[in-house]
């Protein structure tokens, strides 16, 4: 699940051409989309002398068939601009960039939230590492939830049950141990292969068409 946050002005204003068309993607608005902040940024662009040839709200820019149609409908708003400024996740920006015949810029950084489908993040996450240890860790994933992604037990740095990386976060290994103890399965921990095979879940290698 993805959420977007607006980039700081100084990262964007210096590289943006003067005449831009602005496109907001509301597809993930129900998850999280800072529409007010996005509009405020567009207003600042105008104040700073940028020409905004048009502002449109779309959704699901990540669907190429929809986006192709929309770009054609926008007509002059797009063709009159030097560049398109997109407020969306990285997928949406990449789709627009492939389909548009002019430079495409993004105003957002994308953050992933735990949980896959639907709109509500779960507390539980899966990194698709391709080497699932959940059968031995009481159904709680240390790869996704331990700050160090350790698979063979706690690092020892936890204080009062809290992770040493961030005190707001519980040490996931202590929670794993609690659940396994409750189920009388603590011995399962001895069966875990201590070395993680990073190649198995590498999405960069799988992204070829």
């Amino acid at each position: 699940m993805l959420a977007t946050q607006i980039k700081p002005d100084d990262e964007l204003l210096g590289i943006l051409p003067r005449r831009v068309f602005v496109l907001y993607c509301l597809g993930c608005r129900e998850v999280y989309f800072p529409l007010e902040e996005a509009r405020a940024l567009t207003a600042r662009l105008r104040e700073k002398g940028f020409e905004v040839t048009g502002e449109e709200m779309a959704d699901y820019l990540c669907r190429p068939d929809f986006t192709r149609k929309r770009l054609a409908l926008y007509g002059g708003e797009v063709t009159g601009a030097e560049a398109i400024l997109v407020f969306s996740c990285g997928v949406g920006v990449q789709v627009v960039a492939e389909l548009a015949d002019r430079a495409v810029f993004t105003a957002c950084d994308t953050v992933n939230l735990p949980g896959y489908t639907g709109l509500r993040p779960t507390e539980l996450d899966c990194e698709r590492c391709g080497d699932c240890v959940l059968g031995l860790t009481g159904g709680i994933c240390p790869v996704a939830n331990c700050a160090k992604s350790l698979v063979n037990g706690p690092c020892g740095g936890a204080k009062e049950g809290k992770c040493e990386i961030d005190k707001g976060k519980s040490c996931i290994w202590l929670i794993i141990c609690d659940r396994l103890r409750k189920q009388g399965r603590l011995d399962d921990l001895r069966k875990i292969e201590p070395i993680r095979n990073y190649q198995k879940g590498d999405r960069r290698l799988k992204s070829a068409k």
Partner: protein
């Protein structure tokens, strides 16, 4: 999303000591419906059989990662005789299942992910690693974090041969593709500059945790699901109610309520007065219809109807402009002296129906056949654009509260709660001042569809209306604020329901606002007052909805009149992407996440397309309230609501089970 089933030896090893197992499988997201995972589940079962395990329980569930629906499904599953639970799903699903049972949970598959999960089209290789430091501005909109095997940020590694990556010869070198794209748009300079380093600390746990919490808090607030559409209420919410002149020709359809249609009680050529009875029926679930103007009946014929969709018998009255009041419309000197039954009689005689849109005859509601202890007055008005109820509350709070007291007396309750969404604080203030100690005014978080009875009752009283039931089943009557106002008008001022306040708003509406119009005013005339463009031109290139954008009905004719249940007219742009039932569902799971009735709309769609009415009945299609949340969120833009409406009609026609 992709799975790779673990080797039989590994599954057997994980299940050491367990002999009886349950198998829980997910059909996974971003997959075609036809790809049902039976192959993977088959492999898992074969591995279990090979290891001598007995499968004693099974569950197929879509979106195991959805805690709400999975929790409900697991509650029905008997796991008492089971030693372990085996899952065939992604890591999130396994963890959700593990959080719902004390039994050991063993995943039988590794989650390897496809190229998509963020995007909605699994065939396209567009991937975002959500690194929280987007570099697409420098790379021509192609992500090197996701597509360079080494995630380099400052150019190619130099190892590519013939344009192919040295790590995987099948793959293009992402940086060469980036270079080509930049060259095409004359932006090669963007690649230059300082060496860029990736900050692997981003997104920080704090950042993700904060966002997650923020989302989780607003998502299920007050009720499961729901959506937050852009409201556009600012267009009209500060516009005082303006009275529109009565139409020259009033078209009054004989169907303006749920129940038996009325028969005209006048004939062509008759002179009628304002408020005179012109349509009536014997049926109890029905409401009489009165003339909205004074004049002469010029026709009784079939005319377009805004809700029914086909032409419906209507009494057409030529307005003489005098508004001569019918002698039956006499104000009540002492409304406080009326008994409950007398109030109900007046309400029935004056033709009141619920003004929220359902047009249920009010007098039927006021004669509950079950014990009632609370009256809820619905001031949510959760539809985007509409502000008519809002203005009625602000400007006519006293009358609303007096109407509420009459309703409370009629149904015999002393406890009244008025629920108002927090996007209209001025309405809450006005109503609170008017109601004093007579009613509790509760300000509710704004989320669509908070105004639906079931959600409102739950939020205000904590009571759960049973599926297929009414608020009455839990001792509650719900009435809309405008209906309360109409009760006041009917009882105290003696006026039948012949006019109401509607919102006219949207694109090309030059004078958006809240207008008090006569029932029977053709849409054409209302639009002509509010818009500069000709109403016929609007019909050709805009969508005119009676009601709001979520539940409003698109009009095919502007000759249809405003009826008692009309809450507004919204002019919307034509959809850039038309709903199309030929597209396929990508199983993103969003409809399941927003359905306030906690149904599984993607499954309803699947079976409705195949006209499998029996299965639809089992899946609870009759519980659908047609709120439109699923269609609003649908990533494939499927025409879900119209299909469900058709499915409901078909399911109701099925022979009843004995």
């Amino acid at each position: 999303m992709e799975l790779a089933v673990k080797a039989q030896g590994e599954i057997g090893g994980l299940l050491e000591g367990a002999s009886r197992v349950a198998v829980i499988a997910c059909k996974l997201c971003f997959k075609q419906f036809e790809r049902d995972m039976s192959e993977e589940v088959g492999q898992v079962k074969a591995a279990l059989a090979e290891s001598g395990k007995e499968v004693v329980a099974e569950l197929d569930q879509d979106f195991l990662c959805n805690l709400n629906s999975t929790g409900k499904a697991m509650a029905k599953l008997d796991l008492s005789g089971v030693d372990a639970v085996v899952t065939c799903c992604c890591g999130v699903g396994t963890q959700v299942v593990a959080s719902l049972t004390d039994k050991p949970v063993i995943p039988a598959a590794n989650t390897v992910g496809g190229t998509s999960y963020e995007g909605f089209e699994p065939v396209e290789s567009k991937l975002c690693m959500a690194c929280a430091q987007c570099v697409l501005n420098q790379t021509g909109g192609i992500c090197p974090v996701a597509y360079c095997a080494k995630s380099l940020l400052n150019g190619p590694c130099g190892g590519a041969k013939n344009g192919k990556c040295e790590v995987n010869k099948e793959k293009e070198c992402a940086w060469l593709v980036i270079y080509d794209r930049l060259k095409k748009t004359g932006r090669v300079q963007a690649m230059m500059g300082e060496t860029r380093l990736r900050d692997h600390n981003r997104p920080t746990w704090k950042q993700r945790d904060k966002l997650s919490r923020q989302v989780a808090e607003t998502r299920d607030l007050n009720f499961y699901g729901g959506v937050y559409p852009v409201e556009h209420k600012e267009l009209t919410e500060q516009r005082p109610i303006e009275v529109l002149p009565a139409p020259a020709l009033a078209v009054v359809p004989m169907i303006q309520h749920i129940g038996a249609p009325c028969r005209p009680t006048v004939r062509v050529g008759d002179a009628v007065k304002l408020g005179q009875l012109i349509g009536d029926t014997e049926g109890y679930v029905s409401a009489p219809i009165h003339s909205p103007v004074s004049g002469r009946v010029v026709a009784i014929e079939k005319r377009p109807h805004p809700v029914v969709g086909t032409d419906v018998e209507a009494v057409v009255i030529e307005n003489d402009g005098l508004d001569t009041l019918d002698p039956s419309c006499t104000p009540c000197e002492a409304p406080q002296a009326l008994s409950g039954d007398e109030i109900v009689e007046i309400v029935q005689a004056r033709g009141l129906v619920g003004l929220g849109g359902a047009m249920f005859p009010t007098h039927v509601k006021l004669k509950p056949h079950k014990r009632v202890d609370t009256l809820i007055v619905n001031g949510c008005e959760c539809e985007p654009f509409l502000t008519a109820d809002h203005r009625v509350m602000v400007e006519r709070a006293d009358a609303v509260v007096r109407g509420m007291r009459l309703v409370a007396k009629a149904i015999g309750v002393s406890r009244c709660i008025i629920g108002i969404e927090d996007n209209k604080p001025d309405a809450a203030e006005a109503v609170r001042a008017a109601a004093g100690a007579d009613a509790e005014v509760v300000v509710i978080h704004t989320k669509y569809p908070q105004g639906a009875e079931r959600m409102l009752v739950k939020r205000l009283t904590g009571r759960q209306v049973p599926l297929g039931g009414l608020p009455l089943d839990v001792g509650i009557v719900v009435s809309n604020v405008s209906t309360c106002y109409a009760v006041y008008e009917a009882v105290c001022r003696g006026l039948p329901l012949t006019r109401r306040v509607i919102t006219v708003s949207g694109l090309d509406v030059a004078r958006p606002g809240n207008y008090e119009v006569r029932v029977g005013t053709p849409i054409r005339e209302v639009l002509a007052r509010a818009c500069d463009r000709a109403p016929d031109a609007l019909l050709s290139d805009r969508v005119i909805r009676m009601g709001g954008p979520m539940m409003g009905l698109a009009q095919s004719s502007i000759d249809a009149p405003v009826v008692k249940g009309t809450s507004g007219l919204t002019v919307l742009p034509q959809a850039e992407i038309e709903p199309d039932d030929q597209r396929r569902c990508v199983r993103c799971g969003r409809c399941v996440a927003v359905c306030p009735m906690e149904l599984e709309p993607h499954l309803l769609w699947y079976y409705a397309v195949r006209e499998d009415w029996e299965t639809l009945k089992k899946l609870g299609v009759l519980d659908c309230i047609e709120c439109g949340c699923c269609e609003y969120i649908c990533a494939s833009k499927l025409p879900l609501v119209s299909l469900f409406k058709r499915a409901k009609l078909a399911v109701r026609k099925l022979p009843q089970e004995k």
